[in-house]
Symmetry: C2
Subunit: 267 residues, 2 copies
């Protein structure tokens, strides 16, 4: 058996990153390097980074930080061995004045010495133990994106950053909803326990069949919609200030770390 | 029954703060407003505050943040109703260039509009559930301060802040040590699970009978020393940079919040 004939699913986290670095992989990362934490990215100039760090501290469920770099730091030593933020994510989004201007596969033409990288926990890490216990995670079994909604739940603002919480939704039978509360409570660094269960109107969602981001999923009789704080919240909040320059990952194209999902559990 | 004849122990958190504000109480806060979170304080000018916020993000066990204010903010709305940081702690310490220059009971002569208040979790919040389960917390039963030690465990540094972790130690029977791991794992915002159990030499402590801070306590046959990351770590780290100006609480003279210890549990 040689590396060349290994299916992608069997590659280790460092092997996947090497292929991404060589631009041999540039697609979505769902299912790659199973068991390993994948991170959302928010890369900001230093001045705005200080404000964003405070926002994250005040909103840990929406914006659970796995790691924050020094300004200009390219090797993310807090997340694993030889992780170069400029090359090791399959696709990035470059934003100028709030507008998307490019979707490169590396940052070699865009990197600046004042940039701070925020690596933010992602729901992949809590869906894995849900699937392992046989819970049907609907958007996965339907093969689409998770549905996400703007709510009327305010975030705790900073001087410059504010806006409503965005939530993701998974429909679950009551017993599975209870187990999902237990599973995700153990994982505060990837959004933690749900923020709401049941009536969507109580958190300002008018039509559950029309998500603001992602795709609608079927809610079967007897199922409850269960809502978690979503990593789209910080992206949405940053968009409201339309910074002169920032970088994110492209949706679904995450940074694969050496951290293990199981190690994120507090208990 | 009138407020005047209530013993201090029976006062609510807001009542205790009112007495502190009027300087009718200026002593240690241990045992006051049972069930309520008490906070360590670190008050820093804005420039150093950004660096300290990053240090705390990288060292959540040593520096678990309960709340971070805006610059100049005097009412700590994240911690309760009508909490004025300038008056509601029994005693403060004023530091200039790393030297202690005053120990006032309020900050009215010292407050500045660029000051950011960090409220940091404290071990009182996890000792309470240990005591409630009948675990002997030795420094409490001996009526002294908890023993604290400098270790050889490095903190994750920032550009300007670095230094070893300081730990607190509680000697426990094996069964109690196991239960203490469970209890404190549920409380990541007040230091979380222990960082070490057993041989002190393995974390660089040469003589367990001579703590670097606090008082030595008896370790009985069959007991294991159990070590937790300690809120003295950030104070120790800040001292190494000797900032021109900063404020802390006086040891044992904590800020009493409206938050409930039980609510800090993630599960």
């Amino acid at each position: 058996m040689t590396a060349a004939i290994l299916p992608e699913i069997a590659l280790s986290a460092p092997e996947v990153r090497q292929r991404i670095r060589r631009a041999e992989l540039d697609g979505p990362t769902a299912g790659l390097a199973p068991g390993h934490v994948q991170a959302n990215l928010m890369i900001l100039p230093k001045d705005l980074a200080n404000e964003f760090l405070l926002f994250a501290q005040r909103n840990p469920k929406s914006c659970p930080l796995l790691d924050v770099s020094n300004p200009g730091q390219t090797l993310l030593t807090g997340l694993g061995e030889d992780i170069d933020i400029r090359t090791d994510t399959p696709r990035y989004r470059i934003w100028q004045d709030g507008k998307l201007v490019a979707e490169p596969t590396d940052l070699m033409d865009w990197w600046r010495d004042d940039l701070v990288t925020f690596s933010i926990g992602c729901s992949f890490s809590f869906e894995e133990p849900m699937l392992a216990e046989g819970i049907d995670v609907r958007h996965i079994s339907q093969g689409c994106n998770v549905p996400m909604y703007r709510t009327n739940i305010p975030t705790r603002p900073t001087t410059g950053l504010h806006g409503p919480m965005v939530v993701s939704m998974r429909p679950l039978k009551a017993a599975d909803a209870i187990r999902a509360v237990q599973i995700t409570s153990r994982l505060p660094s990837v959004h933690g326990a749900p923020v709401h269960i049941g009536d969507p109107a109580l958190i300002g969602i008018q039509d559950i069949s029309r998500p603001d981001y992602g795709d609608a999923v079927e809610i079967r009789p007897g199922e409850l919609p269960v809502f978690w704080a979503c990593g789209v919240t910080p992206q949405s909040v940053i968009q409201t200030v339309a910074p002169p320059f920032c970088i994110t990952h492209a949706p679904g194209h995450m940074l694969i770390t050496d951290l293990l999902n199981t190690k994120l559990a507090v208990l």
